[in-house]
Amino acid sequence: MNKIEVKNLTKIFGSHPQQGLKRLKNGESKDEILDKTGMTVGVNQANFSVKPGEIFVIMGLSGSGKSTLIRLINRLIEPTDGEISIDGESITRMDKNQLIEVRRKKLAMVFQKFGLLPHRTVLNNVAYGLELQGTDKQERENLAAKTIEDVGLKGYENSYPSELSGGMQQRVGLARALTNDSDILLMDEAFSALDPIIRKEMQDELIRLQSKLNKTVLFITHDLDEALKLGDRIAIMKDGQIVQIGTSEEILENPANTYVSNFVRDVDRSKVLNASHVMKKPEVLVTYKAGVRVAVRKMEEVGASSIFVVDKDQNFKGLLTIDDAIRAHKEQLPMEDVLIDNVQVITPDTLLNDMVGLAVEAKYPIAVVADGKLCGIVSRVSILSGLVLGKEREEVMQ
């Protein structure tokens, strides 16, 4: 079952939202409605679902409705139309008390401007969610102290938010969200107000915590690089509408329209694509058993100067060069003796960016190895083409 399910979610700001809704359903655009009625369409019939344990990123420029959208999920803003359900339970039809209960137990939120209570210490900020639920003081402070330690702020329990740097304040915000032990984290531009280095640190922290705690995360950002880095799937918003939903590769490789392709054109592909995207199936392979003679012939067939060697279970063993193979053949040596087994290997999720340095130094193709098995090879050519080709493809589209 999906953790969060959103159907036809719409928000219209203005005096007669129902009237605006009718126009919207008749196919009038956001601009037309603004011109004719003065009402602003915040979110326009958004549909998406978030799976348990997923980081789902909603990306859009300012004014695209993404911050409105996330506030509709916990009804900080009341939807005009549409349906939201969490764990199969309709949020939109809940009364006030049920809603408060869901906010307390299921949805924790992290804010762009942190939203910390300035008159409370770090400890009391982090324990705030539990305090609202009426948790016993001792218990909530123990739990809060634990999450404060988890986010790396041990020792700051009795500081006030104003005494901390932005990055530390957002760690407090994150700790507050985690202390509640909600399944879902709503993160509204959570890292946008931070310096680039701190931001990267927090992104890594989020990934680390997420893999440990397996939360479902709905993450809002205007930064495509951040979206591509964090998102298992990404929804791109424009003018209140979701224009594309997909994994980072899908969005980079198959932009739904020119808006998205313009968006992704300047992406640093080397930080998004990884070895699994550019590797080729290893066609030139040889097993121990086949022997040196077979290896030489295979190299000859494809015109290669080296060949990868695996055992019968496809476990990666090493690299055999043509020179070594001929030497082994002449001197009647077993293949093991001439095998280069300390060659550079990478995993499928090694980023292109990290492979460039290897490619410069590598004399031979690089082996991609997962769990000991050879799953592909990457040549210098494929690294370079991975960096360049995507861009050209977009240019062709236009």
Partner: protein, 277 residues
């Protein structure tokens, strides 16, 4: 310009004499009794306690809250009040200030909270406050006398009318000024409106609310002379005597005593405001 006759004077008098007084005089009498006993109790405590004890308490309070300088000023001020023989009058004035401030705070802060959270109440309250602040004081002295007689009680009522607006306005302002993202965060974590008010809005609005209370006290004190015109005892009546006898010296003596009280009270409440920040 008189296109039609508007006998507001007759209507009002008719309303007051034929409806308000007969119907509600029992109610006003009751308020009057309660207020009188309140004012009397505070006045009694202040006047029957030895002057030295009150002076020392006040100086200590000034020292604790606002520091040495204010404490020194309070000492000099108290010595002045004693040496011009106006201690009892000062205490009578202080009693009326205290009672009307307490009533203003008890009514003003809740109204301020309501008007900050409810736009209908806000729109209703605001013109009423404007009315209270701009209507010449003497105009509501007349009904105050009619309804509550002479003495301390109508003085407290008139002072309340004049002094309550800042308490309401500053409370409302303080709550509205609480940063939106803090309120939003609290709601996102499932606070009830009551929890939001008690745990977030009031603590963060407190400095502004205290500034309002400070203004209320100052306005209450500035009503001392007017209050004495409807029979309230205290420093105001000294000034009033000075005016009626064209006695510059007496007027100044009483006036300075009011200033002394005002400065001491102002510094102490400002000190509290700074402390809660």
């Amino acid at each position: 310009m008189n296109y039609f006759e508007f006998p507001l004077e007759d209507i009002t008098n008719d309303f007051v004499n034929n409806w308000l007084l007969p119907t509600l005089s029992g109610f006003f009498d009751q308020i009057s009794v309660i207020l009188r006993s309140f004012v009397d109790a505070v006045t009694n405590v202040l006047t029957s306690t030895p002057a030295e004890v009150i002076a020392i308490l006040l100086i200590a309070l000034a020292w604790w809250i606002s520091g040495k300088g204010v404490a020194l000023f309070a000492l000099i001020g108290m010595l002045y009040l004693g040496s011009v023989d106006l201690w009892t009058e000062s205490m009578q004035t202080l009693a009326i200030v205290i009672v009307s401030t307490i009533i203003s705070v008890l009514i003003g802060i809740p109204v301020g909270i309501l008007s900050a959270t409810n736009s209908v109440i806000d729109k209703t309250v605001r013109p009423i406050l404007d009315f209270m602040q701009t209507l010449p004081i003497f105009v509501y002295l007349i009904p105050a006398i009619l309804l509550f007689g002479l003495g301390g009680v109508p003085a407290v009522i008139a002072t309340f009318v004049f002094a309550v607006p800042p308490a309401v306005r500053m409370t409302s302002l303080g709550i509205k000024q609480v940063p939106g993202e803090v309120v939003e965060a609290s709601r996102a974590y499932g606070s009830t409106p009551r929890q939001l008010l008690i745990k977030v809005q009031l603590p963060l609005a407190l400095p502004t609310i205290m500034a309002g209370v400070n203004q209320t006290i100052m306005l209450a004190l500035s009503m001392a002379v007017v209050a004495s015109m409807i029979g309230a005892p205290g420093l105001g009546s000294i000034v009033l005597t000075g005016i009626s006898q064209v006695n510059v010296g007496l007027g100044l003596t009483g006036g300075l005593a009011i200033v002394v009280l005002a400065i001491v009270l102002d510094r102490i409440t400002q000190g509290i405001t700074n402390k809660v920040k």
